[in-house]
Amino acid sequence: MSGSLHDVKNDIWMKTVLISVGLLFAGIAAYAVLAEGIGSVKHHDWEDAHHELEEIEAEWDTANETGTLEEKEAASDKWSDAHHADIDAHLSYLTWSTAGKTIMVMFIIYAAFYGIAGFFNSIQPEEEHHDDHGDDHEEHHGSASPILMAGGILLFMMGFPGFVTTCKAWLGLDYDPEMSGFMLSAIGAMITIMGIGNWWNEDLKGHPEQIATSDPFKGQDIRKAGMWIFLISETMVFASFFSSYLRMRTGWCTQWAVNAGKCDVVDTYTASDYLRPGGATGTGDFWTLLPGGINTFALIISSYTIVLALKTAKNVNWEPSKNALMARLFPTRKQAVRNYLLITVALGSLFIVLKLIEWSHLIAEGFTIDSQAGSIFYVATGAHGLHVFIGLLVMLFMVFKADTVGYDEENGQGIEYFGLYWHFVDLAWVAIFPAFYLY
């Protein structure tokens, strides 16, 4: 039986409450600098470019009515340049604005999880310590977390339409706020986070690893077997996205299909037509493919950093690197594990930010969810992005645990089991990236 019990006081959770305040300020600062600061400068540039485009359009109209052929061609070229400048300025504004807003929202959610879960755990009464923990005859105590989370998610989803409508109204769109739905959703979110926080607290204090006693997993850690069963269901979720995509894709007349002689006229533009150089819309180049490319590398690197975190946690003979920079970044085994996990969180967060920047560009170029191609693209890549984000929320706790009780050869399997999920998310991207971005 592996696993360990840590004598952790509940007031240690006040640390997460303080971190949540820091995260909140960091999110607001990122929004102020990126969206309001640089974003507003870029917005002015876009307005200027758009104004110039309108002037050139007027010149072109005049040339078309009274000009010579050369003048018409010159006006047409000038309009084309101004049009591209207008698009570039718009996309540049969207990049900064979306980055600022995404970082702020992500940090607010991080802060909510750390703040609410931390506060809830810190006010819990201390349990009396029993010496018989770890005994083979110990009775396993059930956890209230799953039912709390399930109830919270139920309320959240019940109020979700009102939540979305209210958020749209607050963003200045033409909607009436539905406060009852919003409040129901907010209460559901609070209960969900409290359930998760309770789970975090139970895991922080440690528990003996339970071993399966019957086939086919006899002798294996139940948590590991459970994680693999969970991943089976996840495989089917993504398989349904892929089969839907294939079903639609084989019926579309895309540029690929025209080139292959399967049909004559392009009737559908896919995301890759917008993103990939040589795509049918002509908008794709190195820069449009770049966010997807960086995201692919970010996920692979993050898969490796989580492997390094596990390897470091399990290595009883760990020593700091002889390289001065590495020794400074990873001075002790405990800090090395925490920092590898922090790097993983940073790379995952980068993935989300770049994904939303890319979405904002695609939507601005007309690739919206109201088409078949857009619908399957946003649903499949959005579901994947949601998986990445849920992984990041789990990692928030793992960073805290690595920083407080620490991971070692006794409890490092927690990183291994989470790593299975994270690698699965990477594996799903291995299929999504070529299918939706490159093909």
Binding site: P216, R247, P277, S303, Y304, V307, H423, D426
Partner: protein, 134 residues
Amino acid sequence: MSEHKYTGPIAGIFQKMADLIGKDVYYVNFLILMFFTLFEIAAVFFETVPGTDIEITRDAVWAILIVVGIIKGYGIAAFFMHLKGDPFIYTRTALFPILFAALMLWGIGLSNPDGIDGLPSWCTPNYDYSYVTD
């Protein structure tokens, strides 16, 4: 975990490469994943093989994306997810949904009205194509 020595036709190659450069298999796997990701992006990015006039055809891109996907999938599942080295029950568990996923994809192909007459005959045994001709 780092003490484990991988054997077998493919995992053995990873292990030999790791021994050659004095690093562990995870590091070699990471480098291979990075290289092949770069390779698949380049295959789409360039219309001809750099430095030549050889066109990268649609079929070539298809082949590259599928082969690279399989290599990357193997690297992540075998080494990062520890299927190589863990008891075989986990590999069996991981392979279990493949059957259902394959059935879904096959069924989906047949469900496509435009796909019926476009599929190879072995996909549609004893099908009289009355649906298409009607």
